[in-house]
C-alpha cells in the first residue's frame, strides 16, 4: 500500500513529476552522450595512432633508440620475424630498416626519417595504402620508389614522379645517397608521418646502406587488443636481449590522454549527479510542503514516522526509476545510431587533424557504463530523498493540520 500510495503520488502533480523525470532523462542522456563522445574521441585517436603509426608492439635492439644508429640492428631480425608471424595473436608483422637522414628536392632539403619496408607486409600493419592522396602503394614498376607524406611533398614542392634524393649515414658513418622517385603521397592523422617520413623498399634501402639483410624494427599488429599483455609477457621472457615495447610505452602521451579522459568523465559524472540531487531535493521538498496537511493527517491517525519517511523515499526512487531507464534507453539508442553513422566533424576537421583525429567520430560506450549510470541515478535519488523525507517527519501533526 505504501508503494501504491507512493507510486500514485508520483503522478499526482503530473507536470512537476514530468519536469523531474524529463530532467533525469536529459541528464542521463547528456551524460551518456558526453561519455560516448569523449570515449569515441579517445578510442579513435588511440586506434588511429595504433593502426597507422605505432602498431601494438615494436621490437628493437636495446641500444637502437638511444641515437638511432644504423649499426644497432636486430640480431637475426628476419628469422625472428618469421618465427613471430606464425603466432596466432599476431595479425600482421612488418620488419623495417631505418635511418635518420635528409630528403632533398631540386628546391629544398629537409630532415626525414627513412624506413626501408616490405610493402606487402607493411600495408597490413600501418594500412597506409588506404591513406594515399596520390599515386600508388609501391605498385608501379619504377625503380627506387618512395612514398612520403603530403605535407612533406608540399614543403619540398614535389609531386608524383618527382625525383628526390635521400642521404644518410651507413654503418661506418659514411654519407650515402640514393635517388628515388615519388610513387605515392599519404595523408595520415600523424603530423610526424605527414611531415618527416619517407618509406622506401627495404631492398633499396639495405643495398644503399650496405647492410645486407639487417633490420632495425619489427612492428606487430595484433588480432585483438586483449592479446597485448600476454604477448608482451611472452616476448619479454623469450627475448630478454631485445627491447620490446607496447604502444603504451612507445607513446606514453596516449596512455596519459586515456587517463585524463577518464578523470574528466568522472568529474562530469559527478557534476551531473550533483545537479540531479539538487533537482530532486527541490522537487521533493515542494511535494512535501504541498502535502503538509495531508502528511499531518497521516501522522495524526497513526502512521508512524518510519512509514512516512519510507513513503517519501520510495516516491523519489520511483521518480528516478521512471526517468532513469528512459534516459538510458534514449542514450543507448543515440549511441547505437551514432556508433553506426558517426558524427561528421569535417567542418572542424582541419583543426582536429592537427591533433591526430579522424573527421568522422564514432561515439561508443562500454556496456558496464550503462549499469554504472543506472546505479548512480538510483543512489542519487536516494540521497536526494533523505532531506525532504526528514523534513516530512519533522512536522507536528496538529500544527500541520491547522495551517491554512
Amino acid at each position: 500500500m505504501l508503494i501504491k500510495i507512493a507510486w500514485r503520488n508520483v503522478w499526482r502533480n503530473k507536470g512537476r513529476s514530468l519536469v523531474v523525470i524529463g530532467s533525469i532523462v536529459v541528464g542521463i542522456w547528456a551524460l551518456l552522450f558526453m561519455l560516448g563522445f569523449m570515449n569515441g574521441f579517445t578510442v579513435s585517436y588511440i586506434n588511429g595512432a595504433i593502426e597507422h603509426e605505432i602498431s601494438h608492439i615494436q621490437i628493437h635492439h636495446p641500444k637502437f633508440k638511444q641515437d638511432y644508429d644504423i649499426a644497432y640492428s636486430i640480431p637475426n631480425g628476419l628469422s625472428l620475424k618469421e618465427a613471430l608471424s606464425s603466432d596466432p595473436k599476431v595479425a600482421a608483422i612488418s620488419p623495417r630498416s631505418f635511418a635518420n637522414g635528409m630528403i632533398s628536392s631540386t628546391r629544398k632539403a629537409n630532415g626525414v626519417r627513412i624506413y626501408g619496408i616490405i610493402p606487402e607486409l607493411e600495408k597490413h600493419v600501418t594500412h597506409h595504402d588506404s591513406l594515399l592522396t596520390a599515386g600508388t602503394y609501391f605498385e608501379s614498376k619504377q625503380r627506387n620508389p618512395v612514398i612520403i607524406g603530403n605535407e612533406l611533398a608540399e614543403e619540398l614542392k614535389v609531386d608524383i614522379n618527382s625525383k628526390i634524393v635521400l642521404t644518410f649515414q651507413d654503418e661506418d658513418n659514411n654519407l650515402v645517397a640514393g635517388a628515388f622517385r615519388i610513387a605515392g603521397l599519404i595523408e595520415t592523422s600523424s603530423p610526424s608521418i605527414n611531415k618527416f617520413t619517407a618509406y622506401v623498399k627495404m631492398e633499396d634501402f639495405n643495398r644503399i646502406a650496405g647492410i645486407g639483410q639487417n633490420i632495425h624494427e619489427i612492428a606487430l599488429f595484433l588480432s585483438s587488443p586483449n592479446d597485448e599483455a600476454p604477448l608482451m609477457d611472452k616476448l619479454k621472457k623469450e627475448h630478454p636481449d631485445l627491447l620490446i615495447e607496447s604502444w603504451r610505452t612507445i607513446a606514453p602521451e596516449l596512455e596519459l590522454f586515456l587517463s585524463m579522459t577518464d578523470s574528466f568523465l568522472w568529474v562530469l559524472f559527478g557534476i551531473i549527479m550533483i545537479a540531479l540531487i539538487f533537482g530532486i531535493i527541490n522537487t521533493m521538498l515542494m511535494a512535501v510542503l504541498e502535502r503538509y496537511r495531508e502528511l499531518g493527517m497521516l501522522m495524526a491517525i497513526g502512521m508512524n514516522k518510519w512509514r512516512v519517511y519510507m513513503m517519501i523515499v520510495i516516491e523519489t526512487v520511483f521518480l528516478s526509476l521512471v526517468g532513469g531507464p528512459l534516459g538510458i534507453i534514449i542514450g543507448l539508442a543515440t549511441m547505437n545510431w551514432l556508433g553506426i553513422h558517426g558524427i561528421d566533424l569535417s567542418a572542424y576537421s582541419e583543426g582536429l587533424k592537427a591533433y591526430g583525429y579522424d573527421s568522422i567520430l564514432y561515439p561508443s560506450i562500454e556496456n558496464n557504463i550503462y549499469i554504472f549510470v543506472t546505479i548512480g541515478v538510483i543512489i542519487t535519488a536516494l540521497i536526494g530523498a533523505l532531506y525532504p523525507a526528514y523534513k516530512a517527519i519533522q512536522l507536528n501533526p496538529t500544527k500541520a493540520l491547522h495551517t491554512v
Partner: protein
C-alpha cells in the same frame, strides 16, 4: 427499582491545563478541565471561538500534551507516553475525523477506509469485508472505487467517519466535522454518526458551533475561557 450497570469510562481527564508559549504573552487555552466520558456517549463540545475546544480534543486524542494534569484512556495514562508510543496508541485506540483534508487523495474511497486497518496490519479479507459493509451502511458502496476529489464534501466526511470506525477505536474525536458542509449535509452526517453510535456502540466526541448539530448530541459540554461552564446530559 432501577438497576444501573456501571458504565465503562473510556476517557478521564484530571485537572488538565494547557498554556501556549508561542507568543510573548502566554495563552492559557485550558484551565483545570476535569472530564469523564463513558462508553457509548454521543457528546458535543461547544463554546465560543477560542474557548479551547480544539485544544481539548487534541489533548484527549494524544496529538498534543497538556501542560499539567493527566489523561487516562481505558487504563492507559497517555500523558506519560513518548511521541512514538503516542503515534502507535492513536493508531490502535483513537479514531479521528478532521474538519477537512481527511482523506488521502490518491486512494479510492474504499482504500481510504481500509487505510488505518492496513496500518494496524489487519488481514486483507477482514479489511475488504469491513470496508464494504461500512460503505454500504452509509450508502456509498457505489463510490467505493472513486477518489475523494470526485466525492462531495458530505460524502468525504462520511468516508472519514467510517474510516475511523473501521479500525475499531475506543472512541472517535471529530473537531468541527461539519464546519465545511452545508446544513443539509451536516444534518445527514450527524444522523449517520448517531446511527453508528447506536449500531456499533461507538463513542463520539465532536466539537461544533452549529446549533442544529448541537441539538443532536445527548450530552453537551460547554467550554468558556478554557473551563467547563456547563455539562448537561439530555
Amino acid at each position: 427499582m432501577e438497576t444501573t450497570v456501571a458504565k465503562k469510562i473510556v476517557i478521564k481527564t484530571e485537572n488538565i491545563a494547557k498554556t501556549y508559549h508561542e507568543s510573548k504573552i502566554p495563552v492559557q487555552a485550558l484551565k483545570d478541565v476535569d472530564l469523564e466520558i463513558e462508553e457509548g456517549e454521543f457528546t458535543a463540545i461547544v463554546g465560543p471561538s477560542g474557548s479551547g475546544k480544539t485544544t481539548l480534543l487534541n489533548i484527549i486524542g494524544g496529538l498534543d500534551k497538556p501542560s499539567k494534569g493527566k489523561i487516562i484512556i481505558g487504563d492507559t495514562d497517555i500523558s506519560n507516553l513518548k511521541e512514538s508510543q503516542l503515534i502507535d496508541f492513536r493508531l490502535h485506540h483513537i479514531g479521528f475525523v478532521f474538519q477537512q483534508y481527511n482523506l488521502i487523495p490518491v486512494l479510492t474511497a474504499k482504500e481510504n477506509v481500509e487505510f488505518i486497518m492496513l496500518l494496524q496490519k489487519k488481514s486483507e479479507k477482514e479489511m475488504e469485508e469491513r470496508a464494504m459493509k461500512l460503505l454500504k451502511e452509509v450508502g456509498l458502496e457505489d463510490k467505493a472505487k472513486v477518489r475523494p476529489s470526485e466525492l462531495s464534501g458530505g460524502q468525504q466526511q462520511r468516508v472519514a467517519v467510517i474510516r475511523a470506525l473501521a479500525s475499531r477505536p475506543k472512541f472517535i474525536l471529530a473537531d468541527e466535522p461539519t464546519a465545511n458542509l452545508d446544513s443539509a449535509s451536516a444534518g445527514n452526517l450527524l444522523d449517520m454518526m448517531a446511527r453508528m453510535n447506536r449500531e456499533e456502540n461507538m463513542t463520539f466526541i465532536f466539537s461544533t458551533h452549529d446549533q442544529r448539530v448541537i441539538d443532536k448530541a445527548r450530552r453537551v459540554v460547554t467550554l468558556e475561557d478554557g473551563m467547563i461552564k456547563y455539562d448537561e446530559v439530555r
